[in-house]
Amino acid sequence: MKTNERIYSGRINRATGLFLAGICLLIGMAGAPPRVLGAGEGTTAERWDAAAEAYRTKDFEQARQLYEGLLNEVSEEGRPHPELCYNLGNVYFQLGQKGRAAWMYERALAAAPRHADARRNLALIRTDGANAEAESFFLFKPLAWLAQHYTAGEWSVPFLFFYGLAAGAGLVWILGRRGVRLWRVSRWVCGGACVGMLFFGAFFVPRYIQTEYHPVAVVLDSSVPVRVAPGADQDVYFEVQETERLEVTAEAGLAGWLRVKRPADGRVGFLPESAVGIL
């Protein structure tokens, strides 16, 4: 009776309070949830529609400004939404800035590798084969395709699921009573989940490392000289073309210069940060 009275009076008992505090702590650790943009609320939706309208009326400069404004609102802990990148890529394309368009399509594909339109438009830009990757062993190709078909975030979900399943089954196996049916089943579940975890982990971990630690850059200007050392007075080693995709091998401590590697021939050189867009 006392408990009921407390509930009816709106007061929270100690255990419930601790539970709610724990939930709040978890949400706090998860970071601020993504800002939801309702169809009719705020200026974001209006600007989005205005950008589309400007695009329709061929006012591409206005569309660019609006989309870039939206892009600047993207918080640093995340990536811009692929649709925003894709649309901005289309605007750049219409403005004749193919390097920037390729950069935006690449950003869209980084966040959504199965974005068919972004892939298609990127292929339209890169018709000269300048971005040919080095040939890899034929058995690796389907695996690489599968790994690239999903983002690291997408790979992390099944990995985590099997990880949790393996851990749960492991707990039952460790704490359960030996020999009973549940204990026997838990061994098989734990083994199977470990296999699943290793399988998805084999895709998630390399994809995660690639995404987080091996950034890719897209050349924004036409014919950018890549030099042998950071500095405008250094000798030119080779030249890269607009829309070309490069691997960034070092960016820290080079005072506005990046060390890049061209995947097609493995050549490494330095170019100014402003000449490329980093994904």
């Binding site: 802990e77 018709t127 690291a152 992390s156």
Partner: protein, 672 residues
């Protein structure tokens, strides 16, 4: 004769029979059983035996020595020296018996005299594919003495008690160097290599030259011709540098030239003008004639490097010291004459309307990327033309009247040439991007592509389609920003090399995303928590399980260690009972606390322990007799009070509790 020997191999299913239990079945096994009695073989045994039989046979065969004799150069002038080389290869059987060859007789030829009667020899042992092989090389120096043609013969080799004749080697001795050359070299059709140094050029004359071989000299316009540059060499003393060969067709303005990757590293034996040469193809090109008429391929140069002895400034070429400076590589040029190619125009008769100058043996394929699209989608129409022939002659297939479709921009073009021969083998892929002009059940009309096959001397036309595509209504149509610049009526759209146009872009996406920022799951704060939690839980579970098992294993030890604490806890309960006035429960709990403690310490069951036994046990473990007696008295008082009619005095009970605590401390000190 007309007859021939047929050898049949048959895998026989056979197996071991153990203890006579398993009986072979079938005719083959029965026959084998008859042949080998009970020793029926397993399949593994069968294959193994076959392997050993073949091995033994090959050993017997390879026991027969292979003897070859060569003379280099094969044509010399009077007074010049030649090298006569006899090569003997001995197989397993003889080699394993370590039976080297013994010479019988000496090389003899009426035109030559032997400079060194004893040959220089070289011995080499090899294991090739598991087979043991020993080879010997014997070399004589002979000098040409008189003009004529003859054979070096008369030598016999004895191996393992058996005598084998050495095959004869032909030699030609001429009066002048000119006479030693094949007719084509004498006439100037073929030209010897030159280095720019007269002495070396004299040595190379007739011994090193190159020629071109053409697959065809009578061809159609755009029909590829394969040209090989073949090098002939004979008796180059210092040798040739293997990787230095090169030839490239130059000055061919009426041809498209394409190099072909090929590997012909091996020298082979060839004959020219009755003289044997080492022959090797060093380069291969395809030439595609681009002009009708008689087209001449001019004289070109092939290059190589020849190893020659360096002139020694100190000793010259002293016969004792030799040439201490060794050899040096000298670049040599081999002029090669071209030929005349007759290039015919393509026939006009039977030329299909879809023919666009493609010449070769091609196939044509066409496909659309989807059979159901929305009005907003783009349809990709792909053509693939490929095979062997000049890929450059393949132009973009033209489209028929596309009334339901709008062609956006120019078609893309991609060449997928074969690695070895990218210009003349492979395929070209063309992609048209189409936008539907309306919704409904549309059709991409039939497309035809024709090419001329020069091998069959006829035109071939291939038709593909029509392709049915179901187009549903779209919603974003207003976002199309420009109309196509290519007329759908145009059968020949502009070339693919022109830049991509904006109208080829896929449409803008208008629905507002739910959030502008996408945070990957692994970047969210919950991810490390979810990742760490199972580890922590598993760690705790393992710890708990380990602790539980440890406690179970050391149950008695734990009971002994915790007996004092448990007894004091029970005394506290008794005190609570005393305070609440439950005297009977108090006495009972007090007695049980002490009895339980003593029973644990002396490792006996508390039930059935008499007061005498408790007193004795305590005294036996070192508790002073007075204390032991006090303990016994305490138990007796408890019992008495429990069964006393009045339930006892609370003050006395308090006194008893204190006494029990004192006794417990005393027992703790004694029992540990």
């Amino acid at each position: 004769m007309g007859g021939h020997l047929r050898v049949y191999f048959r895998v026989v299913r056979v197996r071991f029979v153990k203890d006579g239990q398993e009986k072979p079945q079938g005719g083959d096994e029965m026959r084998i059983r008859k042949l080998f009695g009970r020793a029926v073989l397993s399949r593994t045994w069968g294959i193994g035996t076959l392997w050993w039989v073949l091995g033994a046979l090959s050993a017997v065969w390879s026991a027969e020595p292979q003897i070859t004799a060569t003379v280099s150069p094969q044509a010399v002038i009077v007074g010049a020296q030649v090298t006569y080389n006899v090569s003997i290869k001995v197989g397993d059987a003889a080699a394993m018996r370590n039976q080297g060859p013994a010479l019988r007789g000496a090389p003899a030829c009426p035109l030559l005299r032997t400079v060194s009667p004893r040959p220089s020899s070289r011995n080499q042992v090899q294991i090739i594919n598991g087979a043991f092989q020993q080879s010997y090389e014997l070399t004589w120096k002979l000098q040409a003495m008189q003009e004529g043609e003859g054979q070096i013969a008369g030598l016999q080799i004895e191996i393992g008690g058996q005598v084998y004749p050495v095959p004869p080697a032909a030699i030609k001795v001429a009066k002048s160097a000119e006479d030693t050359l094949p007719a084509s070299l004498r006439s100037g059709d073929l030209l010897s290599a030159t280095t720019g140094e007269a002495e070396i050029d004299q040595q190379l004359k007739g011994r090193l030259f190159a020629t071109l071989t053409f697959s065809k000299t009578d061809v159609f316009l755009q029909e590829p011709i394969m040209v090989d540059c073949v090098v002939y060499a004979d008796g180059i003393e210092g040798g040739l540098i293997e990787k230095s060969f090169g030839w490239k067709p130059e000055g061919l303005k009426d041809f498209v030239v394409g190099e072909t990757a090929f590997a012909d590293p091996a020298w082979r034996q060839g004959t020219l003008g009755g003289r044997q040469y080492s022959v090797r193809t060093v380069a291969r090109y395809y030439l595609v004639p681009t002009r009708v008429g008689e087209v001449e391929i001019p004289l070109t140069n092939a290059v190589c490097q020849v190893q020659v002895k360096t002139s020694d400034p100190f000793f010259g070429n002293d016969p004792f010291f030799g040439n201490i400076m060794g050899t040096q590589a000298v670049p040599a040029s081999m002029p090669v004459r071209g030929t005349k190619i007759r290039v015919k125009p393509l026939p006009t008769q039977g030329q299909p309307p879809s023919f666009q100058n493609a010449v070769g043996n091609f196939t044509f394929a066409a496909r659309v990327n989807s059979q159901a699209i929305s009005e907003d989608d783009l349809l990709t129409l792909t053509f693939e033309v490929g095979g062997t022939g000049y890929l450059g002659s393949i132009t973009t297939p033209g489209l028929p009247d596309m009334k339901d479709w709008k062609v956006t921009g120019k078609p893309s073009e991609k060449v997928e040439g074969a690695k070895a021969n990218p210009l003349f083998e492979g395929k070209k892929v063309f992609e048209y991007v189409l936008r539907p002009a309306r919704s409904g059940a549309l059709e991409v009309p039939q497309i035809a592509y024709a090419f001329f096959n020069p091998d069959q001397n006829r035109f071939v036309e291939v038709q593909r389609g029509p392709f049915k595509v179901n187009v549903t209504r779209g919603q974003q149509r207003q976002l199309q920003v420009a109309t196509s610049t290519v007329s759908s009526d145009s059968p020949n759209p502009p070339a693919a090399s022109e830049p991509t146009t904006p109208e080829q872009l896929a449409y803008l996406h208008t629905p507002l995303p739910s959030a502008l920022t996408v945070v990957s799951f692994y970047r969210q704060g919950i991810f490390p928590v979810l990742l760490g939690l199972p580890v922590v839980l598993l760690g705790l579970a393992v710890g708990f399980r380990g602790w539980t098992e440890y406690r179970l294993r050391h149950q008695d030890e734990f009971a002994l260690r915790q007996a004092g604490g448990r007894a004091r806890k029970e005394l506290k309960t008794a005190r609570a009972s005393l305070k609440s006035g439950q005297l009977e429960a108090f006495y009972s709990q007090l007695a049980e606390a002490l009895r339980g403690y003593i029973a644990t310490k002396i490792q006996r069951s508390a039930k059935g322990l008499t007061f005498e036994e408790i007193q004795e046990a305590c005294e036996a473990r070192g508790l002073p007799a007075e204390k032991a007696r006090g303990l016994r008295r305490l138990f007796e008082r408890c019992d008495g009070a429990r069964y006393h009619a009045g339930g006892g005095d609370p003050a006395a009970a308090e006194e008893l509790l204190r006494e029990a605590e004192v006794l417990l401390d005393a027992m703790d000190q004694v029992f540990g």
